[in-house]
Structures are given as structure tokens and as C-alpha cells.
Symmetry: C2
Subunit: 333 residues, 2 copies
């Protein structure tokens, strides 16, 4: 097994989860850009050296996790596959390619065919959204989603997490805030997701959520409105979601039960104590938290919910490992 | 003039704005609960003592600003009015009373009749929302709003602002977070607005937004879905708003121009630089910032926007002072 981008936020989470889940591999080859050479990362009690990525290092690799951005994925995925590896890529490089499945194991494993050997992990926001929404399809056809996100800084990587930490320290000391990863200070602030705005007025993150949700759910015409906002939170993405059905909205108790039974979800919906999903409670958890369930007073065909999911876990590393586990248990690698 | 609740976050903002706007008053009587006795607050270069509120202190008061919560308002508003004062109250005590106008001067001053002497200032979130949405009515009848908020801690008062500051200091030092004002840590977190959940599943803040928006806009049947979330931001509320019209959505350029011409609004809508309203830019500003204007790709009859407004200014103190200014210029006091 190899991990490209091992020193990044997702790379390190991959290592943590591979160990925690006792993933059946004898060794892990850690790859990164040349500037990480000389570093080591702990894996199962051993300090594993990080190597500068090169073609030969994919020899004899059965599973290659790529977590180094879209450009690196376009370079290294064909090389790894050419040497016989199955590739699980966390970037957006291949997600929308035809005949490439975009898989959340709990939702659409049926999209995987025998010849598939490239498995992009979807956008983190789209995954967390779908974990909460997909089980609702048992109550009727989805007509329209209106989503506003509260996205953690971890989605922008380990350096963004450091930047928020540094800015909070500066605020505590009454100093000026400096920034480098984001185009403006994130501590005590929030702003439109830092991806370019397209001609329709949507930022890149929003467009990914729209396209990927349609692909993974197999609903190419699903109406989705989404606003993606970065907030000063470390590592879990939250979202406020309005779901309109083609017919009458389901009963809330039935919906709560269905969500509680869905794999990978945990219902946190305590009205009496105003206790609902929060990013702090979702952090470091495999399950996506979902709650604040209610029939929309503005539309009898709609419900609202709020969910929080760890961006580095189910939004990235965990989903990738779950794909790998399915491939292993299915005898595919 | 008297200010009850002078030592609170809104009270102090009232003092700042009265001085800045050269409000025509010779003196201000500062009133608070007995525990603030002995304190002084600066006003126009003089340190004014804070007195414990009592009936006699409303003698000869023409305008009484109340900013001490609903219970205090119910006690002191009738007393102040009995002594001849006009009352401008920042609490929710009287907002929904029949024959009490709920006024945003830019939007519905026409609701004020000659006999009115009690002027509640609306909920801060509702005011900021309406500032952005009301001008859109020139393009067609509003059919439905879907709103998700990103609310600053200032709405919970000066102690909540201190609490966020203290928690950021603790995070910077790697210490445990303590909390008292909010039911959980707010730094690096976010949660459902800290007001009780009603039988429909909405928190108190959400219900106020629904009821007050309908009253102020004079649209008792307007469909509104709203999710109110506290975020670790100091003093400006932001919101993601989807506006559905009864007919086709307006052209975005026409809409941008209309919003730019509306009083009390500033358009921040720079797609090229991904520069849109943020709470940091809205803080300490009179204008509500509005932008991220786009036709909703999920519904040709809808548009989306994002706005940020200073919760202590237009959301509270400024709106109250604007009411007082109108009363003075109209010869009503």
C-alpha cells in the first residue's frame, strides 16, 4: 500500500484510521513531494520515513491512496494503475469522469463494476450532505435541496488549521491578524468558500456539491441550491438542509427512526435540551450527526435538518478506507 | 432622555451612536439594575453616573430607550409612558402586540400612527434579513424565504462576547474551555440558537424571525423557513437567504442596482475576487452588506443572496435611534 500526500491533513488521518481499523496491510509506503523528504510519520508504533514520490515507488503497490490534489492525481494515478494498483483518490480530478464511479459505500456501492480500478472520494461537503439526505429517499422522491454550509478550515488542509490557531492566539494577545492560506482572516469571521466563482455565480465548492450529489444519488436532474461558507471551526463541516419531496413530507418520528437505522449516521435530536449536531461533537467521529428534524412550516412537502460530519473522516479519509475495505473483502485486491 | 440597561452591549452602543449622530438631547440619564450602581459611562466627553432604575428617574423624560430584556420592559415601559415619555424598547415584550408598530424606518414608517408612543425594535436577525429582502419586493410578490443564519455572540450580550474572547485565549494556551453564558463552548464551534424549541421544532429566535418579518413587511401569510445558528463571530449577524418570487426571478444586474439604491444597504458583490459580505467587514458599520447575488440554479423563480449586518447597530441600537430621530424631526417629541 502507498499513500501519496502522507504528510497532509487527510494523509495523516488515513494513517490513523488504517491503524485503528486494523486494515489488512503489512506495510505502508509514505510518499510526498520532495520538500517532505527526511520526515517520518508514526504508523503502528513504527516511525515510517516519507519518500519523495517517484515512479518506482509504485512497484508492487496493490492500493494507492492519493491525497495530494488534482494535479498530482492526474500525474500519478495513471502511473500507479499502470503498475497494477487500485487507486483511491481524494482529489476532484476524476470524480465527474464517465465510467468512473463516485462512491459512498453506504449509499451506492452498486455503481462499482468489475473493471473499475479508480475510485475518487467525493467532495467532503457532498458526502456529509448525502449521508444525511440519502436515507430520506425511502419516503418519496427528492424534489429540491436548499443547503447552506458551515465549513471547517480542515478542508483547506493542515496549514489552514494552523492559521486559525495562530489567529486565535493573536486575538487573545490583541495583535493584528496575519493570513496566508485564506484570502482574509478566518478567526471570528466567515466568508464564501475560497474557490473561484463561476458564470452562474456559484463558487467551485458549491458546483462540486451540485454535480457530485446528482451523480452519486443517480438523480441527474435533482434541483439543488447550495451556499458554501467557511467558518472558524477546526475539522467538522456542518450544514443546514431543507429537503423538499415530490409529495407530502414524511412524519418526523418515522424519519428520525429511519435516520437512526441508517449506517454511518447518528441522530442527535433532543429538542428539550436544545441539543443537536455540532462540529465539536462530530469531530473525530466516524458517524455523521443529524438532527433538528422538523416539518418545514413554510412548505408541507419539505423538512429541515442540520448535520455535522468530520471533514477529514467521513468527508475524506474514512470514505476512502471504506472503499478499500470493500475491495479487499470482495477479493478485488 | 433615559437609557435603561445602559451598561449592556446595546446600551453602550446607544451611547456611542447618540454622540456620533449628534442626537439633539442636552443630557442622558443612565439607568441600570442596582448592581451597576457606582459605575460611570462616558458620553460626549463626560463621565455620566449610572443610577439604579426607579420610578422617579423617568420624571421629565421625553424619550426612554429600554434595553434590559422583556421582563424589565414590561415593568418600566408603562411607568415611563405614564410619565409622558415615548418608549423605544429593544426587547421582544411588545413586538407582536396589536396596535404596536414594529418599525424599520427604511421599510415601514407608514405603520406609525399619531397615537403610537411605544416602539419596539425588532429582533436583530429579522431586521437584517428584511433590510436585504424588502427592496426586492419591487420585482414581484415574495412567495417563500429559506434562511440559514450565522449569528454573532453579541446578540447574547456583552458577557457572551467576553466568553468567546476568554475561550479563544484558552484555546491559544491549550487549556480547557469554560462556559457560562452559552450552554456549550462557542469558540471553534456552532450550535442551534440558545432559545427553547417550540412544538413545531423551531427555536425561539427562528419563531421571532418568522412572526416579525410577516408583521413588518405586512405579509401575514409569507412562507418563511429559517434556521438560526450561533457562530464564533463577535458582533455581526450573517445569513444565507433564498428568495422565491411568485413569478420569474428578476435580472441580477437590475436587482444589484435596486439594492445599491436602497437606503441602509451596501452591495458587496465582487465575483471576480470572491469578495462578498463578511461579518468582519459589517462590524461597526451602519449599513447592512448584501451580495452573492445569483439566480438560483434549482428554481428559475428564486434568487440567493448573502448578507451581514452589525447586530448591535442596525440590528438594535441604530434602528432604535433612527426611530427616535424620525419622531424628533416629525415634531412628535
Amino acid at each position: 500500500m502507498a499513500i501519496l500526500g502522507a504528510t497532509g491533513a487527510v494523509g495523516q488521518e488515513l494513517l490513523t484510521l488504517l491503524a485503528k481499523r486494523h486494515f489488512p496491510t503489512s506495510a505502508v509506503r509514505l510518499l510526498a513531494s520532495p520538500r517532505s523528504m527526511g520526515r517520518t510519520l508514526p504508523f503502528r508504533g513504527v516511525n515510517v520515513p516519507v519518500s519523495a514520490v517517484s515512479e518506482g515507488l509504485f512497484d508492487d503497490v496493490q492500493i494507492a491512496f492519493l491525497s495530494a490534489g488534482a494535479e498530482a492525481a492526474k500525474t500519478w494515478a495513471p502511473i500507479a494503475m499502470g503498475k497494477g494498483a487500485v487507486v483511491i483518490d481524494n482529489s476532484s480530478a476524476f470524480r465527474m469522469d464517465e465510467d468512473v464511479p463516485l462512491v459512498i459505500p453506504e449509499i451506492n456501492w452498486h455503481a462499482v463494476a468489475d473493471h473499475h480500478r479508480l475510485f475518487p472520494v467525493g467532495n467532503c461537503t457532498a458526502i456529509i450532505l448525502m449521508m444525511a439526505v440519502a436515507p430520506l429517499q425511502q419516503f418519496g422522491k427528492l424534489k429540491r435541496l436548499v443547503v447552506s454550509t458551515y465549513q471547517s478550515v480542515s478542508g483547506a488542509g493542515a496549514r489552514a488549521m494552523d492559521e486559525l490557531q495562530t489567529q486565535m492566539r493573536a486575538i487573545a494577545k490583541g495583535e493584528e491578524l496575519s493570513y496566508e492560506v485564506f484570502p482574509q482572516p478566518i478567526a471570528c469571521n466567515l466568508f464564501s468558500h475560497n474557490t473561484p466563482i463561476n458564470s452562474h455565480g456559484y463558487n467551485g465548492e458549491e458546483w462540486k456539491v451540485i454535480e457530485e450529489t446528482r451523480k452519486t444519488l443517480g438523480l441527474p436532474d435533482l434541483a439543488i441550491e447550495v451556499t458554501c461558507i467557511r467558518v472558524p471551526v477546526m475539522r467538522a463541516h456542518s450544514m443546514s438542509v431543507n429537503v423538499e419531496f415530490d409529495g407530502r413530507a414524511p412524519d418526523i418520528d418515522e424519519m428520525r427512526n429511519a435516520l437512526a437505522e441508517a449506517k454511518g449516521l447518528k441522530v442527535v435530536d433532543d429538542r428539550e435540551n436544545n441539543h443537536f449536531p455540532t462540529p465539536c461533537e462530530a469531530a473525530d467521529q466516524d458517524d455523521v450527526l443529524v438532527g433538528r428534524l422538523r416539518v418545514d412550516v413554510s412548505n408541507p412537502n419539505a423538512i429541515s435538518l442540520f448535520c455535522s460530519g468530520d471533514q477529514l473522516r467521513k468527508g475524506a479519509a474514512l470514505n476512502g478506507i471504506q472503499i478499500a475495505e470493500r475491495l479487499v473483502s470482495g477479493g478485488r485486491v
